[in-house]
Amino acid sequence: MRRKDSGYYTLRALPGILILVILFLIPLFFTFSYAFHDNGKALVAVFSDKYTYRLLAFTLKESLLSALISVAVAIPLSSFFSKYTFPFRRAVLTLAGLSFTIPTILVVLGFVIWYGNNGFLNNILMRITGRDYSVLSILYSFKAIILAHVYLNFPIAFLLITNGWTELPDTPEKAAYTLGAGRARTFFSVTLPRLLPTILSAFILIFLFCFSSFSIILVLGGNPAFSTFETEIYRRVNINVDREGAAALSIFAFFVTGVMLIITSPGRRERKASRKRRVLIKATGRKLFAAVLLMLLILLFILPPMLSIIYRAFYTKAGAFTLRAWEDIAKGSTGLMSTALNGIINSFMIALVASCLAVFLGSGIAMAAAKRNSWFIPFLSSLPMATGSVTLGLGFSLLAVVLGHDSILISYLLVTLAHLTIILPFAVRTIIPGAKAIPDSLAAASYTLGISKGRTLRKVEAPLLAPYKRKAFAFAFALSLGEVNATLTLSDGHVSTLPILIYRMISSYNYQGAAALGTLLLAEALIVFAIGQGGRKNAIS
């Protein structure tokens, strides 16, 4: 089958692939041309500078540690959640899934308000202990970076490992017990080897995410000593105005990330889900008590930073109710607030256009990849991931310099294209499992009924892909909505999105304004999350 109609699907994927390659190559071309400026002096400097390797060491250290802790915390919890069923189990897992759509800038804001020296947590602890100085000093340190990364990624590890574990039938474990193996021996010799691919893929996903972390490092690290490639490139462009140096560093980072993606790709092989899932045991008595305790712990870790954003949007630091920030947004009064309304509209429109395009182009690419059983198409579409969003932003900003334009329309276009380049690989990756789940025999059956390829795609295959497209849309929309890295690097003052405004407000200590905008961003993220959740229904499993 694949041989007969794959050409048709490739043809349909071609516009998407072309746009992806062009959008990826243009910024890369400008980055390269800047890096090789002046006989590649900047490039030589970057490769021979010890600081570059210090950056690499730090980036590796923070990503490894964040991924390790996230996975290590998740495994015992997943072990419990994949064995027992209890009230609110599903709700907690759904809440964990929210981490996929929470913009990083909200984590930054939530952390500042909750964990800050004058934050809610310290206030509570000061009241309890009776001290008049902050009890916990977390922010602006290495541990803040790790804590924020774990906050954002532990739920992802928890969700992936729990789902993977639940899908493993427990008959091999039962067989091991009947052979006289104890619980520990069974876990290490029977369960763990089967679970390892899931654990590894969660680890790699988190590792790669932390490797390109930006706003968490920039704000919560608060110190140039804690610099990753992404933050350093941003600093060189926007603070030192050293475009050649930034471009050279981008190329170094591009190769490092490329190598990482190649090394880690075997770990992300897809496994066939087993048909026979394990039957969960109903938790009663002590197990139920343990379940309640674990759920409370998870909620106590996840909820406070987000809730404190909402609280802070309506209350002053002293605890008095106020709507000042909201009035400022509505009036478009002074300063940063004057652009708030604009920012809300910008964010929404850019995310809408970029994610619609991403899903449209991405589904063509995903169908072609599935029909051809190709590894190359997914590889090609994940290239922008290797580039890193700051580098893409830098490339687009270098393009803007070359264009030397004044038009606001071009600024919007560049930001939207940068967002599209960043989110398209994620859209493709989300849709590919759906495309692969459609059996080839469905199209074959339709052809033997005399139905054309186009109608078969529209009437038979597209409805089956719809849930995945909706999920991809939600994911892409959320990513675009929360995008800071590229937008901040590319931002030339013309285009302000919600996360950029929040970032600027945090920088100018306007926490109430940031919290009001953060609440709006959180609301949008929740809506998008709900849309994506709807998408899970009716999917082919």
Partner: protein, 325 residues
């Protein structure tokens, strides 16, 4: 000229090659049987146009359709897998390939549902159907597109035995009432024997025999066909017939058991094998299938009763013995 003619059709894969030539008359019910990997499904895919042959031609009703698009061949297919479209209900699935427009569509789909024994199933979701129901709907859907030939690729292999029996009878009844030409692939010998007009046996990508069930069972042309169409025994021919190469083959029902030694001169029409040792006796319901050892050679013989002795004699009518390569 046959209605469907396959001329030197070839398809080569890395470790498998298919080459087939045969013809099917209009309205015929041909079963294609053979072991797994013998090329049965590949052959159907090539005829349907789901795969492209490397050589040869497919002639349907006098017209070469080898290079014709799948959609224009007028060849329907019922697949082994579940291929009902999940986004449509039963009725919409059946109407999907119909050429008629308007109200007729509903009438025809209802009639087809009645034909396959599923009246009133039209509005059901396809995910609510059992395996047998799903295959019946697949059949109705394929018929709705009014194909000139219907190909069925192991349509019942995923179903349990009693259901298989009942649906295969419905398929034969539908064939007889519509008079449509059908090519039915199965690996189940009994299924092929019970519903076909004729049978084609495939082995290693080649057509090894073709004929009616009776012809293939009673007069197989080679040992593969002999064993594939039923149980039997093959002994080196020179054991009994002087200066004869090849194997002598006989069916278990042609070997008569005697608990007393038999004098060969008394039975000139038979081959007598004395001192055969009974190794196993398997109860088959109507009698026993005996496994015997004769001078180190295994022999199968059927018997109405279970012999009391361990060593018996065998009498095989000479004219029932086939000398095969």
């Amino acid at each position: 000229m046959p209605y469907l003619e396959i001329r030197k059709l070839e398809k080569k894969y890395k470790d498998f090659g298919l080459s087939a030539s045969f013809g099917v008359e209009e309205g015929e019910f041909l079963c294609i049987i053979g072991p797994s990997g013998s090329g049965k499904s590949t052959l159907l895919s090539l005829i349907a146009g789901l795969d492209t042959p490397d050589g040869g031609s497919i002639i349907l009703d006098g017209k070469d359709i080898t290079k014709e698009k799948i959609q224009n061949r007028g060849i329907g297919m019922v697949f082994q897998d579940f291929t009902l479209f999940p986004s449509m209900n039963v009725e919409k699935n059946i109407q999907f390939g119909m050429k008629e427009k308007g109200k007729d569509r509903k009438k025809i789909s209802d009639a087809l549902l009645a034909l396959v024994g599923l009246e009133g199933y039209g509005k059901r979701s396809v995910s609510s159907l059992s395996g047998g129901e799903a295959q019946r709907v697949q059949l109705a859907r394929a018929l709705a597109a009014e194909p000139r030939i219907l190909l069925l690729d192991e349509p019942l292999s995923a179903l349990d035995a009693p259901l298989r029996k009942s649906i295969r009878n419905s398929i034969r009844a539908i064939h007889d009432s519509l008079g449509i030409t059908m090519l039915y692939v199965t690996h189940d010998r009994e299924e092929a024997f019970s519903i076909s007009d004729s049978i084609m046996i495939m082995h290693d990508g080649k057509t090894v025999a073709m004929g009616t069930a009776e012809e293939l069972y009673n007069h197989p042309k080679d040992l593969f066909t002999a064993f594939f169409t039923g149980e039997g025994t093959a002994l080196p021919a020179h054991l009994v017939f002087e200066n004869t190469d090849g194997s002598m083959f006989f069916r278990p029902e042609h070997a008569v058991i005697s608990e007393e030694p038999v004098n060969p001169t008394m039975y000139p029409m038979h081959i007598i094998l004395n001192d055969a040792e009974i190794v196993s006796a398997e109860f088959t319901g109507s009698g026993y299938m005996l496994g015997l050892d004769y001078q180190g050679y295994p022999i199968l013989a059927s018997s109405a009763t279970k012999p009391r002795r361990k060593t018996v004699s065998l009498m095989i009518l000479k004219e029932s013995i086939l000398i095969l390569e």
